[in-house]
Each structure stands twice: as C-alpha cells, then as structure tokens.
C-alpha cells in the first residue's frame, strides 16, 4: 500500500503551522494547563495521516514544545505548580496519542486486509463475480474478464443474465436466483456463459449471498468454473462408450452362430440316455421323449418355460393335449416319418406362454427297441427366434451395404494388405475406365499416378500398421486410357472384434473437373498478373468492403510493398487515412455503379510528388449489384511536366513572334526619324537652339534602334553570324570582362573544360548570353558577399533528359552552367523569367530583356536554356548548345 498516495499534501504544513502557532501563543500568553489543549488538537491531527507513526511524531513535537514553552513562558509562580501544569499537559497529550495510535493501527490493518482481499479477488485464477441485490455486476476478477473477453468497464453495472445463454437465462430467472435468495447459497449450477465473441462456454456456478446487518441480502459472490473442456471430454467418453457397445453387439451376433453347434448334441444324446437326461435339463432347448402313441415319457425343465407346465405333469399325456390342435397338426407329418424309423428335422412357430410368437427348430429321432422296432421317439426343439431375428437383421444390413456399395456416387473399394482390390463398385470401375474383373486383378499401386506412388505406399503402410486410423487426401490416379484422374480419397481400416485389421475401405470422389478449374483459374490469374505487371500503370481490384483483392507489381512499388502484402488489406491501411478520406467520394460513386475518372496527387515512398490519372470501373455481379471495382491509375507526372514546358515554350514563341513583328515595323518607322533628323541637324546653323532639339531626336532614335535590336534578339530574327567556334575560347573571351562587372564581394569559381568542342554559332551572341547570365547572377546577390560558379563541359543528353528540357534532341551538347547563391526565385518568378520586360527590379533599374534575349539567342542556336532555383539559396542557369559534328571541325 502506497503511503504517499494517501497522504494529503496540506496535512504536513497544517500540522507545522499549528505547532508553531500554539508554541508562540504559549510563549506570549500564560495559558497554564489550558496550553495543553491546543497540543492535544495537534495530536488529533495525526489521525488524518495514513500511518500511525505520524501521531507519535506529533505527540513528540507537542512534548518538546510544551517543555520549552513552559520553561520560557512568563507565568512564573511556584515551581511545583509549574511542574504540575507541565505534567498535566504531557499527560493529556500522551493520553490522547496512545489510544489514537491503537485505533489507527486497527484501521490500518483493516485497510490492508481489504486491499489483500481486493487483490486476491482480482488476481485469483478463477472466474469470480459479485452481484448486487438486483443481479447487476459490481465486481469481476481479471480471470473472469480474460475468459469472457471483456474489459472491466464494459461489464460493471450490467445484469449477469446478459452474459448467459438464453436457456441459462431462463433457468437463472425461474429457479436459480430465487433459490439463492431463499437459501443464501447455491452450488455447482450448470450454466452456459456467452463470451464477447459469441462463443458459448459451459460453466458450473456456485454462489453465496452476503447479508447486511438487518439480515437482508445485499450482495452475492459467485465462483464460476469453466467446464467446457470437461464437457468435451465427457462427450468423447460417451462416444467411446457407444463404440464399445457397438462392438459388444457385434460379438453377440457372432455368438448366435454358436447355437448351431448344439445340433451336434443330438448324437451325444443318442449315445447315452443317462448323459442325455442329465444334460437335457441343463440345455437351453426343449427335450422330450414320447412313446409310439405320442404320449410323453420324459420332458426337460425347459418345458416349464415353453408351456408353463411342470415336466412331471405332462408325463403320460398325449401330444395333442400339450401342444394344442394347431401345433399337433403342424407336426403330424413329422411324427409319421419318425415312427417310420427316420430322423426328421423341421421348423415352425407358435406363441409362447406370454403370447409372443416364437420360432423353433425341431428334430425328431426314432427310438428303437431291442429287436429294432420303433418304440417311440425323441423330440429336440430349439428356440431359434433370436437367431432368426439376428439373421434377418444381418441380411438386411448386408443388403443395405451391398446396395450402398453398388450404387454409391463415390468410387468404393475394399483393399487387402497386399494392396489388391477385394471388391470394387461400378462407380470406381467407371472412374478408372477398367472393368471389375480387370480391377480385381491389378495391383492397386499401379493405378496411382507415378508421382503420387511413393506417398500412397507410405500412407497405406501406416494405415495397416495402425499408425493412423484413416487417410484423407487428394491423389492422382492413372486411368486405363492414360488420363489422369484427381480423386479426393479417404481410406480407413475395418477391423474385426479383436481389433485385427480385416481390410482397408476406400472411397474416391472424382474431383478432376474441380482441379482443372482450379488450375485454369491459377493459369488465368498468372496470365493476368503477367499482363498487368507489364502494363505501365497501377492496377488494382478493390471489393465493396474497401479491401484489396488484387494489385499489380507497380501498385505494390508505389506503396513500397509486394502485391501479396497489400492484398487483403483495407485501402486506408495502404494509402493512409488522409488520402483515403480525400478519394472516398470517388470510391462511393464507383460502388454505386458509376465509372469515375479523376486526377490525383500522391507522394510516393521516396517523397516525390506524383500526379495520377485514376479511373475506377465498377464490377457488377449477375444480379447487377456492385461487388467491387477495378482501379486503373496512370502516372501522368511526366506528361504534366512536358505539357507545362510546352505551354511555356509556346508562350515564349508567341511572345517572340509578336516582338519580332513589332520590331520589324518599328524599324521602318524609325528609319525616317533617324535619317531625316540627322539630315536636318546638318541644316541648322551652329547657334540655333533647334540643333540641340534635333540632336536629342537623333539620340532617342538611336536608343530606340538598340532596344528594337535587343527585342529582336529574343524574338524571331536577329542575324547570327554563324561559324564553327571553339565554345571554350568564346566563353573565356567573355570572361575577360568579369572584373569590370563582378564586384569584389562576389567570388567567382570558373571551370571551363578546354575539350568541350566546337559549336556552329555566333560568338558575339553567345558572349552576350554569358554576360547576361553573369549580370543576372550578380544582381541576385544584391551586393552581399557570394559565390559565382561558372562551368563549361560537354555532356550527353538522352531522349528523356528532364533537366535539359524535352525539346532537345538526344546528342552531345556543350553545357554552360552559371550558378549563384543569391536570393533565388520562387515558382511564380521562374514561370516568367525568360519573358521580355519581365523584371523583379524596380522600374528603371533594368530592361527586363537580358534573360529573354539569352533565351532567344540560345533557342536560335538550336539549344536550350534551363533554370533551377530555390528561394533564399540561389539559382543555377544551364545553357545547352549542340556541339558540331566532328567532321565540321576539319
């Protein structure tokens, strides 16, 4: 028990404050003996602490304070009075503390006992529960919860009857609960509890009522024992017992055969009359001796059972008198024969003393006198009623078996120890394509498929050796025509009464068709998998409960798993709860029978954003309801990127065409302005103020001409003076100007590969591009310190090289890269960066034509210019210029 848990935090400071307060009051006021009273209160406070030690600590503190207080208080007076006061106070303190501590001790041990009880109750490995007077659960043991599969919170407060099976509930309400109320106790009541998962368990319940002080029941404690296993064992025992009885019955049936042995007794009788007389009485047969007038000379004791008469009483009586007219007439012919000197045997029936019809078997044996004449005869009569009945039952049973065997839809056979057929039914013959005679001649193992022979032989041996009672399996057989037959086979031993194996009994069901369908399905699924795996799309089948039933390889890759790891899972488990919710409307729509198409964005396992084009196609069953849907998802990330790029290039091309058109027309308009104003300038006298005016017109027209020239660089038509140039030397020449345009705060790093090669192009224009890119980089660093990296090398560009841009043909290119670590650009700026007059600088600071003319020049050279940038980290421009064919160098 944790003391700290029960210690109220305010108790300690309260006790301390009280002690100090009393102490100071004691010092200031001469309280005398009354001063002890507050200390007693202090001791009482100890009760509230969880441990009785606190009482002693407080009493000790009070003792010390009392002593000190009295010594230093200003009361003065007679010393013995002071002593007496002090003594009385201490007496009061300890007189309180000791009984209080004793009481506390009792309380503590009660609490501990309660705690132990609670622990015992919860932890006992037995199902325990407590009910209140209304039959509601107020407590259950952990074991109870474990067996029933509930959490404690789910059961407390519920009625116990809710956990019983219907029958047990009725019994509880009608008999058990009233009995418990009346007697206060019940024991081993068989109940059935229903577990949370619906499983029913058999239990025995014992309960006792707890009474309150007024003798009224207020709570019951029940001990519940799970006897499901025991019941199961009993059931098994009962079954075993039934089997045993069956065996006994079979043995009995065999014994009936023993009766026939009795017939041999006839000769024994003839041999010795004495022995006959002795034995006759003990035989379970009727034995009589009659004279030739059909009067009784002897009858054994069985007579009493047959005719209800003492054997002695019939001596001398005529057979007709004893047997009655009916039986007498039945036996008349036999009597005539026996009197003729021949033994005769016959059977018949008659009702016995209790009226039951009895069958009998009679033998009449003539008795010869000394001279050989017939003097009378013996009659030996068996009751064969039981034998007849057994024979009939056996006949019927055999008939049933034979017809079952003969007409069964399964192939059946009896097989001997060597594995040869003893008997086969027509169905088996039909299945295997043999006649009955053929089958009875072959070795059974020869009709088993070669690949299954080994296992079949092993199973058969284990069966005969008693290692297994039966074998159930699917096995391949070889038909007479060589075809394979798949048989679902069960084979078991038939044993005699001594448990010795008689023969094996096998049944075979032809499952070839099923197997073929299974194989075809497997093949079909395999084909589907091969096809779907080779399609560059994510393909899946999802059932109406939103679980995957099929996914192809690519679908698995997308989610970083193998297809078999995904199949069976819920969609939300695979794609995540967030995406699952986002596309739920589409799933709902497809499950209502619509074909759904939508675009979607997902993040793959590498964290890349993937654009998808998804189509959901509903799958209808025969009744027209949707049982699932196919999901066909295509990755359109690349297409999106290409479309985006094409759109941007189309826009730039359109802008270029427009700029070119405007420039061309502007040039026509500028021609008279420039030419005529220059001519006019020459005409004006030197002192004329108009001369300065005209000079401004000339200057403006020249500026306009330059501007138009730069627009034309971006647009469709600046004249390139193209020749084979060494691109490294060309770029190197441009970099000679670097010190004049790069401030000292920017540190350039230059790596130019002299073997880059030759480009067929305009050296001046390419240098313009280099300068524009460097100026742009310097601007991006906004006067701060920074790094400028310029590199040039030859690279191979593939057909799908995203970085180089989709419009480039595959081939070898010179790549010029200009990178800065300046402010960088966001996607909005990147979108427009090559457009003419687009600038991030303030109006007047830049023309906004530098990058667009670079774009125009590089495009005209059949190259490509790309930019990658991260805001705050910098930008990198890459220029790709097609390298000349090597032969162009010579």
């Amino acid at each position: 028990m944790n003391v700290a848990r029960h210690l109220k935090p305010w108790l300690v400071p309260l006790a301390a404050v009280l002690a100090v307060a009393v102490f100071f009051a004691d010092l200031w006021l001469p309280l005398g003996v009354a001063g002890g009273v507050p200390y007693v209160l202090l001791v009482f406070l100890g009760w509230s602490f969880p441990k009785r030690g606190a009482i002693f600590v407080l009493a000790g503190t009070a003792t010390v304070l009392t002593a000190v207080g009295y010594l230093y208080s200003p009361q003065g007076g007679i010393p013995w009075m002071v002593m007496a006061n002090r003594g009385l106070a201490l007496l009061a303190i300890w007189g309180t503390a000791i009984p209080l501590a004793l009481a506390k001790k009792t309380q503590e041990s009660m609490q501990e006992s309660g705690e132990r009880y609670r622990k015992l109750y919860h932890d006992t490995p037995t199902m325990l529960h407590s009910l209140d007077a209304e039959g509601r659960l107020v407590g259950v043991s952990d074991y109870w919860l474990g067996v029933m599969g509930y959490e404690r919170g789910e059961v407390i407060g519920r009625k116990i009857v809710e956990f019983l099976s219907e029958e047990s509930r009725r019994r509880a309400l009608e008999t058990v609960l009233p009995a418990l109320m009346e007697t206060g106790r019940i024991a081993d009541v068989p109940y059935q509890f229903v577990k949370k998962n619906g499983e029913v368990i058999d239990v025995l319940l014992s309960a006792a009522m707890e009474m309150d002080e007024a003798g009224k029941p207020f709570r019951s404690l029940s001990v519940v024992t799970d006897v499901t296993e025991r019941k199961r064992a009993e059931e098994a025992l009962r079954k075993a017992h039934d089997d045993l009885e069956l065996r006994v019955f079979e043995r009995t049936r065999e014994l009936t055969g023993t009766l026939s042995e009795l017939r041999q007794t006839e000769s024994a009788l003839r041999e010795s009359e004495e022995r006959m007389r002795l034995m006759a009485d003990n035989l379970p047969a009727l034995v009589v001796s009659l004279d030739k007038d059909h009067r009784y000379r002897f009858a054994n004791r069985a007579y009493r059972d047959w005719f209800g008469k003492d054997p002695e009483k019939i001596i001398g009586l005529h057979a007709r008198e004893v047997l009655g007219k009916h039986v007498h007439d039945q036996t008349r012919a036999a009597r005539d024969v026996v009197l003729g000197g021949e033994t005769v045997r016959f059977d018949g029936s008659r009702p016995d003393a209790s009226g039951r019809l009895r069958h009998w078997d009679a033998t009449y044996i003539p008795e010869h006198g000394q001279s050989g004449e017939v003097t009378g005869y013996f009659a030996l009569v068996h009751d064969i009623t039981e034998r007849k009945r057994a024979e009939k039952a056996l006949r019927e049973s055999e008939e049933r078996f034979r017809s079952g065997f003969q007409y069964a839809s399964a192939g059946m056979a009896m097989i001997d120890r060597k594995g040869c057929y003893i008997s086969v039914n027509p169905t088996l013959c039909g299945m295997l394509g043999y006649t009955e005679d053929e089958l009875l001649r072959v070795d059974r193992i020869d009709i088993i498929h070669p690949e299954d022979k080994k296992v079949a032989a092993r199973d058969f041996r284990r069966l005969w050796e008693g290692e297994v009672e039966s074998v159930r399996t699917v096995r391949r057989f070889r038909r007479k025509d060589g075809e394979t037959l798949w048989g679902e086979m069960s084979i078991s031993m038939v044993r005699d009464a001594d448990d010795q194996p008689l023969y094996a009994f096998g049944q075979i069901q032809d499952v070839t068709d099923r197997k073929r369908i299974e194989e075809a399905l497997r093949d079909s699924e395999e084909q589907m998998r091969v096809i779907t795996d080779s399609v560059p799309a994510f393909i899946g089948y999802i059932d109406s409960t939103h679980r995957y039933r099929f996914v192809n390889k690519h679908y698995g890759h997308l989610h970083g798993a193998k297809p078999e790891e995904i199949v069976g899972k819920h969609v939300s488990e695979v794609i995540g709860e967030e995406l699952y919710k986002k596309i739920l409307p589409y799933r709902s729509a497809v499950l209502e029978g619509e074909v759904v198409t939508f675009e979607n964005e997902v993040v793959d396992t590498q964290g890349n954003l993937i654009y998808q084009d998804a189509t959901y196609i509903p799958h209808f069953d025969d009744s027209g309801s949707v049982i699932g849907f196919f999901a066909l998802i295509i990755d359109i990330t690349e297409r999106k990127r290409t479309e985006e790029e094409r759109r941007r290039e189309q826009r730039l091309t359109a802008l270029g065409n427009m700029a070119g058109g405007i420039a061309h027309n502007l040039n026509n308009l500028l021609l008279p302005i420039q030419a005529l104003s220059e001519m006019a300038l020459e005409e004006f006298p030197k002192a004329s103020p108009l001369r300065e005016d005209m000079r401004r017109v000339v200057r403006s027209s020249k500026s306009a001409k330059e501007l138009v020239g730069r627009i034309l660089q971006f647009g469709r038509g600046d004249w390139l003076v193209r020749q084979n140039i060494n691109v490294c030397a060309t770029v190197g020449d441009a970099l000679d100007l670097l010190p004049t345009i790069v401030p000292p705060t920017v540190k350039p790093h230059i790596h130019l590969d002299p073997d880059t090669g030759m480009v067929f192009g305009d050296a001046d224009q390419i240098q313009t591009v280099v300068m524009n890119l460097i100026l742009n980089a310097v601007d991006a660093m906004e006067g701060r310190t920074g790094e400028l990296e310029i590199s040039l090398s030859a690279v191979d560009v593939g057909d799908t090289d995203v970085e180089a841009g989709s419009r480039l043909k595959a081939g070898r290119y010179a790549r010029l890269s200009v990178a800065d670590n300046g402010r960088g650009m966001d996607t909005e700026i990147l979108e427009h960066v090559f457009e003419p007059f687009f600038t991030t600088k303030d109006i007047g600071e830049g023309s906004g034509l530098g990058l667009s003319s670079a774009y125009g020049i590089i495009t005209q050279h059949g190259g490509s210019i790309r930019v990658a940038s991260t805001p705050g980290e910098g930008s990198r421009f890459r220029v790709y210029l097609p390298l000349s064919e090597p032969r162009a160098l010579h």
Binding site: A663, H664, N665, N667, N668, L669, L670, L671, P672, I673, Q674, A675, L676, E678, M679, S701, K705, V708, G709, R710, I711, L712, Q713, G717, D718, W719, L720, R722
Partner: protein
C-alpha cells in the same frame, strides 16, 4: 553622280532614301514593288539597285534574281528590317544570289552613303 533605282513598297522608306541620295547628288528612280523595279531595270541604265527584301507580290530575293538574269553585273544593295542586318537565311541567300552590299533598317544617312560609295567604287 550615279543613277540609282530604289525598290521598296514603303513610301516612307523610298522618301528617306530619295532625300539622302538626292542630297548626295545622285539621280534617283523609284519602284513601289519588285515587278515595277524589274521593268525599269530592263529599260534604264542603272549604276545601283537598292531593294527591300520583304515586299508584297514579287519579293526582294526574286527581284534580285530577275535583275541578275538581265544584267549579270548589276550592282545591287539589299535592305532588311532586322536589328543588325536582317534575317539570317534571307540575307545569306541574298549574298549567295550576288547582292553587292546589305544594310539594316534603321540607318543613318552617313551609313547609307558609305555603303553606296562602296558599291559604286570600281573593281
């Protein structure tokens, strides 16, 4: 003092050329399109033909080729509307077809006259 034929569909351009060349003392003939220019070149003795490249109907290159057929030694200067020297392919073609000189709009009178002088120089 030379006889110079100007072929340009833009009246404005013809005016400027005439003004510059008049001032320099040359005799100027004008044609508003290529067809007209070819006709004039058949009947007139000319020192120089200055033709625009982009014109409706018979355009500059064709004009150049036709006049070359008639007068293989005729000196011809082509003008283009491009920033520096006009369109790459067209000007390349013009040079291949035997244009003596080329000039891009706009230009100053001195530039034009320098190129005209270059064309008229013997040899």
């Amino acid at each position: 003092m030379a006889r110079i034929l100007i072929i340009d569909d833009e009246e404005n351009v013809r005016y400027v050329l005439r003004r510059i060349l008049d001032t320099a003392g040359h005799e100027v003939l004008e044609a508003a399109d290529g067809g007209q220019g070819i006709e004039i070149s058949k009947s007139e003795e000319l020192d120089l033909v200055i033709t625009d490249i982009f014109m409706p109907e018979v355009e500059g290159l064709e004009t150049l080729r036709e006049i070359r057929k008639i007068h293989p030694d005729q000196k011809i200067m082509v003008i283009s509307g491009g920033g520096k020297s006009g369109y790459l392919d067209v000007l390349d073609a013009a040079v291949l077809l035997g244009a003596t000189e080329q000039i891009a709009k706009p230009f100053s009178p001195s530039e034009l006259l320098a190129k005209v002088d270059h064309c008229l120089a013997p040899g």
